[in-house]
C-alpha cells in the first residue's frame, strides 16, 4: 500500500471550518484524527474587555516554517499521515476560532503527541502575530509564553 502524505497550510481572512480541516486529513488507512482548535477567549486586562484580536503574518516565511515543522513532526512520529493547519488573519472577534489543526495517523498515540508538538512549535516558530483590541480602543501586541 503506497502512502500519500500531505502537508496543508492555509492563512485565511474568513471563518475557519473544522470540518474542512478534518476532511483534508481523512484517509482510509487512518483510524485516528487528532484535532486542536484555538479560539479567542473572553478576557479582561486592567479592567478593559478584549473585544477581538487582529492577526498578521509574514506569509511566505510562515509557509516555509510550517514546512520545516511538518518535516520535524514526520521525523519524530513516522506514522503521521496527513497534517493540516488553517490559521486566521485579520480581525477575529472574541469567541471565534483563530486556528484549527488536524493530524491523521493509523493509531491514536502518535497523532496525539504530534498535535501537541504542532501547536507548541507553531506558536514558537511560525511568524504570526496578534494584538488584543480592547473596548477602550486600546491595543496590545501579545507575546507567546513558550
Amino acid at each position: 500500500m503506497s502512502k500519500e502524505l500531505s502537508d496543508v497550510f492555509k492563512l485565511s481572512r474568513d471563518w475557519l471550518s473544522v470540518q474542512e480541516v478534518v476532511d483534508s486529513v481523512s484517509s482510509p488507512s487512518c483510524g485516528a484524527i487528532s484535532v486542536f482548535i484555538g479560539t479567542t477567549r473572553e478576557d479582561e486586562a486592567d479592567g478593559r474587555k478584549v473585544v477581538g484580536l487582529e492577526y498578521e503574518a509574514y506569509e511566505p516565511m510562515a509557509q516555509s516554517e510550517f514546512n520545516k515543522l511538518c518535516a520535524d513532526i514526520r521525523a519524530r512520529w513516522q506514522s503521521v499521515t496527513h497534517i493540516c493547519v488553517h490559521h486566521r488573519l485579520g480581525w477575529v472577534k472574541v469567541g471565534e476560532t483563530s486556528v484549527v489543526m488536524a493530524i491523521s495517523s493509523p493509531h491514536r498515540h502518535d497523532g496525539q503527541q504530534a498535535i501537541q508538538h504542532c501547536i507548541s512549535q507553531l506558536k514558537a516558530n511560525v511568524p504570526i502575530w496578534k494584538k488584543e483590541v480592547y473596548d477602550t480602543q486600546e491595543v496590545n501586541w501579545k507575546e507567546n509564553a513558550e
Binding site: Y55, E56, S98, K123, K131
Partner: protein
C-alpha cells in the same frame, strides 16, 4: 573590503508602529555585516525600534537570525525582516 547591498526591509507587528512603515524596498547596507550591526543600522533609521530590544530577532532571506556576532552576506533584493516576539495560535 566592503560592498553595499540594496536590501528590502520588512516590519511586522509592533515594529510597524515603531518604525512607522511596513516595508522599505531599497535600504543600502554594507556587506558582509554582523546581525548585531545590521540591527544597529535599523535602529539608526528608526530609533523607536529600541523598545523591541529584548526579544526581537531578524529574518534574512526568510531564515531567523538572532542579533549577535553572526556575519551575514547580503545581496541586492535580499529580504530582511524585523521579527518581534511571535504570538500566533
Amino acid at each position: 573590503f566592503f560592498m553595499t547591498a540594496q536590501v528590502c526591509v520588512l516590519y511586522f507587528a509592533k515594529s510597524v508602529e515603531l518604525a512607522g512603515v511596513k516595508e522599505e524596498k531599497t535600504v543600502a547596507v554594507p556587506t558582509p555585516i554582523s546581525s548585531h550591526d545590521l540591527w544597529k543600522l535599523l535602529l539608526q533609521r528608526h530609533p523607536r525600534l529600541c523598545e523591541l530590544q529584548d526579544g526581537v530577532v531578524l529574518a534574512v532571506r526568510q531564515e531567523y537570525v538572532p542579533i549577535g556576532d553572526q556575519v551575514l552576506t547580503l545581496g541586492d533584493g535580499d529580504e530582511v525582516a524585523v521579527v518581534p516576539p511571535l504570538s500566533g495560535g
